[in-house]
Amino acid sequence: MNEPLLSVRDFSVRYETAAPVDAVRDVSLTVHRGEVLGLAGESGCGKTTLAYGVQRLLKPPAVIPGGSVTWHDADGTDVDLLALSADALRAFRWDKISMVFQGAMSALNPVATVGAQLADVFEVHRPGMSRAERTAAVVELLEIVKVGAARIKSYPHELSGGMRQRIMIAMALALRPQLVVMDEPTTALDVLVQREILREITGLREAFGFSVVFITHDLPLLLEISDRIAIMRAGRIVEIDTAPNIWFRPQHEYTRTLLSSFPRLTAERQVTR
């Protein structure tokens, strides 16, 4: 588990607006092969900007004033992500790193069937595939995420929130990436559906072995699913450690504040009623 997959060094992102905003400041972290790295922090702390930034998914006025991002591929080659050409970057994204976006409700195209949207991935990234091969691959994906092939012609509005999120996960896994970035994938779901999706993700990781960067502000959830957790505040990572250490031995004052901002489900009450 200590083999690095993605090394980020002194990475910064600045929004060059009238009053420039340093959204990410000198962040260094390593995502290891096969691990779940949790990224926690409140709204506006820069966690999504960091995740998008390392894949160069940000548009102007965002600029990357400094740092390096190195991808250590399974085939043994190292790739400098900040130096890739536009074409190379396009081929790299989704093939090596894919994403599950926040808000499954709005991330899918409402006027295309889920089958067509999944087939799109192969059309773009695997142009050599025949139509029949694409359909077979889409059917397989729908089965893998337990939506079932019968839904291939369904439109997003015909599916429940949990099913739509499964479609997003299927899309992210289509090309068997080595890293999946999940940005608040369960935030809009109720607790039972959330748990179901988390179990699904765990099972799929066991089957395919990809690493996950899981972004959320839900620290109790992150503590359960992550191997390590990075706590972000105002663009910086203030603490990064294993989940048990974050829980039992938080070092930074802010981590303690964040931990105390959640009521405990089963612990002794801090207030009496």
């Binding site: 839900d218 959640f262 489900l265 089963t266």
Partner: protein, 266 residues
């Protein structure tokens, strides 16, 4: 002392193509001033239908709702007066406030309509209410909703709900749209006001942890039925019904998680 009795309430919606949907079946409980009841259940369990029936936005198909022993009014001035005694705080502070109106307008309207203070004291009351929800009244009173953060907006929505001096408050997922770092602040504020004013609060949520933290009693709804109702600690710590246990198991709980994982492999 005010109390509202929900007695054997059922609500059936007729949906074209799908027949009848029983949103609520034989739901009974009593909410009294001075008490907070948490109502939990997953999406579609009927929580919001309870809120709609309490506020008379929907009528029960069968059963009745009594305010201090008398059926709640269904129309006219009596209904409007009832809705000043039982107020609502909605989930989404981005859509529950009118973008065209100032914060002052939002608080003034219920004050003027309810007539709880004389016309020459309305302005002072607006400031008092904004102070009460811990907003800087001078700074926000002439602003519009879009100029405030989500947490500030939800405080405005609470001030608006409190304006006619209600006895009961229904808060339907009041913090689920807010950032976690703000949630506890808004819930603590609600809890303080509840205690100070002796309000009866129905706190509707799917978050078991905050339901336990802020409620005296918890009602668990599943598919429109009350499956469990008891003291907050009994329901969460010693759940009797399998559905309550299922909800509890599904809720993230680092305490239990790390205890379990200390005994076995992760």
């Amino acid at each position: 002392m005010t109390s509202i009795d929900v007695q054997g309430v059922s609500k059936t919606y007729r949906v074209r193509g799908a027949g009848a949907i029983n949103a609520l079946e034989d739901v009974s409980f009593t909410l009294s001033s001075g008490q907070t009841i948490g109502m939990v259940g997953q999406s579609g369990s009927g929580k919001s239908t309870v809120a709609k029936i309490l506020t008379q936005m929907e009528r029960p198909t069968s059963g009745q709702v009594l305010l201090d022993g008398r059926p709640v009014p269904t129309r006219g001035a009596a209904l409007r007066a009832y809705r000043q005694r039982l107020r609502m705080v909605f989930q989404d502070p981005f859509s529950s406030l009118n973008p065209y109106h100032s914060i002052r307008h939002h608080i003034e309207r219920p004050l003027v309509l309810s007539g709880v203070v004389p016309a020459d004291e309305v302005d002072a009351e607006v400031h008092r209410l904004l102070d009460k929800v811990q907003l800087d009244a001078g700074a926000v009173v002439d602003r519009r909703p879009h100029e405030l953060s989500g947490g500030q907006r939800q405080r405005v929505a609470i001030a608006r709900a409190l304006a006619p001096r209600p006895a009961l408050l229904v808060a339907d997922e009041p913090v689920s749209m807010l950032d976690v770092s703000l949630r506890m602040g808004v819930l603590s504020l609600l809890s303080d006001i509840q205690a100070q004013d002796g309000l009866g609060v129905l706190y509707i949520t799917h978050d078991l942890a905050t339901a336990r933290y802020f409620s005296d009693e918890i009602i668990v709804l599943n598919q429109g039925r009350v499956v469990e109702h008891g003291s907050a600690d009994d329901v969460i710590l010693r759940p009797q019904h399998p559905y309550t246990r299922e909800l509890r198991e599904a809720s993230p709980d680092p305490e239990r998680f790390f205890v379990d994982s200390a005994g076995g492999a992760r």
